[in-house]
Symmetry: C2
Subunit: 214 residues, 2 copies
């Protein structure tokens, strides 16, 4: 089986924003309410941060339970690790993801400020200054024979799309308008020149857009 | 996490038949053409019997790649193992599933004619004369902490639905009429008194029906 680079469960607003304006430590999505943007995830039985036994097991759950399926590594932009910009502050802050991050694999954090790897729970974060194709090569090697997940955020996704490196994309368009922030695209047909495209409305109100290539 | 009993990728015709009339060794689906009924599976990248690297990775592929996801055992009716009826013939026939069956777990075959377990490749078939709830208890024990797949066929699915034992169902309605054969239901709303229900049309022409309960 070929090793894929997969974007999964990436939420955008109807007007194409993956995060609002003014991201900060307290507000990872800026002025956007996370529940508006990615609340469909939280409602599913297989949501990776679920702590109680409830949740739906319909269409949306197929997407959240595929999060870890055959994934051996993740690549994320620095802004998905934390809100700092520029040189790393000399503190012991260990990222957005708590004591047991949901990745459980090597995670490659793209940054112009490399630093020593950091192990948090079962996840090790590697901070690398690398072009998309070099980062993908490292992540594939770390993933064994499994696939690599592209975690985001918006700027990182755009960079990897432009470089033609992503094999499959799952983007969930939420029924909310943000007006400003980090813009992924002008609309879901923007990738149709490069990918097959399934449009799948869900009873939760989001529309799942699935892209793949031959 | 609770251990679930899951029906997955079960194909029926628009008029509710899971197999045609006249099932035999050469024609496991009777007068029905398997490609009409379950051809949507064959077209996906993750179809369990795929031998070449092609295939689609859109909506339908989420269903085929969930086939083995967190599954630790299967229960199937005798008619899914082979076409024989009554006492087993004294031969060395080893079922429909070839030298390397796609299950790779213990499989419990329901029959009124128990016989010794049979290992084929990485799959061991256990032939048990048991009521649905007893069979499920054995399969759950064999599955460790994973879920159990209900494999079919139609009569077995109906029996387990009647007994209230199935937690989630995925039934794919194909755009074909069979007129006669093994009938699963009068229509997709038949289970709505007992389950939540998502209706998901696919670009392949099938409509996926997903059922779950609280």
């Amino acid at each position: 089986m070929p090793q894929l680079l997969r974007l999964q469960n990436f939420g955008v607003s109807r007007d194409g924003f993956g995060a609002g304006e003014g991201q900060s430590l307290e507000h990872p999505f800026g002025h956007a309410n996370p529940a508006d943007l990615v609340g469909w995830c939280f409602a599913t039985a297989s949501w990776v941060n679920r702590t109680d036994p409830g949740g739906s097991r319909g269409l949306d759950d197929y997407f959240t339970r595929d999060f870890t399926n055959n994934i051996g590594a993740e690549i994320m932009g620095r802004n998905k690790f934390g809100p700092q910009r520029g040189p790393w502050p000399d503190d012991d802050w260990r990222g957005w993801w708590g004591d047991e991050p949901p990745f459980h694999t090597p995670v490659f954090v793209l940054t112009h400020y490399p630093r020593e790897p950091m192990q948090v729970g079962e996840t090790t974060f590697y901070f690398i200054d690398a072009a998309p194709d070099e980062a993908l090569e490292q992540a594939k090697a770390a993933a064994g024979d499994k696939d690599v997940r592209l975690g985001g955020g918006v700027a990182t996704v755009r960079e990897f799309v432009e470089a033609g490196l992503i094999d499959t994309l799952h983007i969930a368009v939420a029924p909310v308008e943000l007006g400003r922030g980090e813009r992924l695209w002008t609309g879901p047909t923007e990738l149709d020149d490069r990918y097959h495209h399934d449009v799948v409305p869900s009873s939760s109100g989001v529309t799942h857009h699935l892209y793949w290539r031959d």
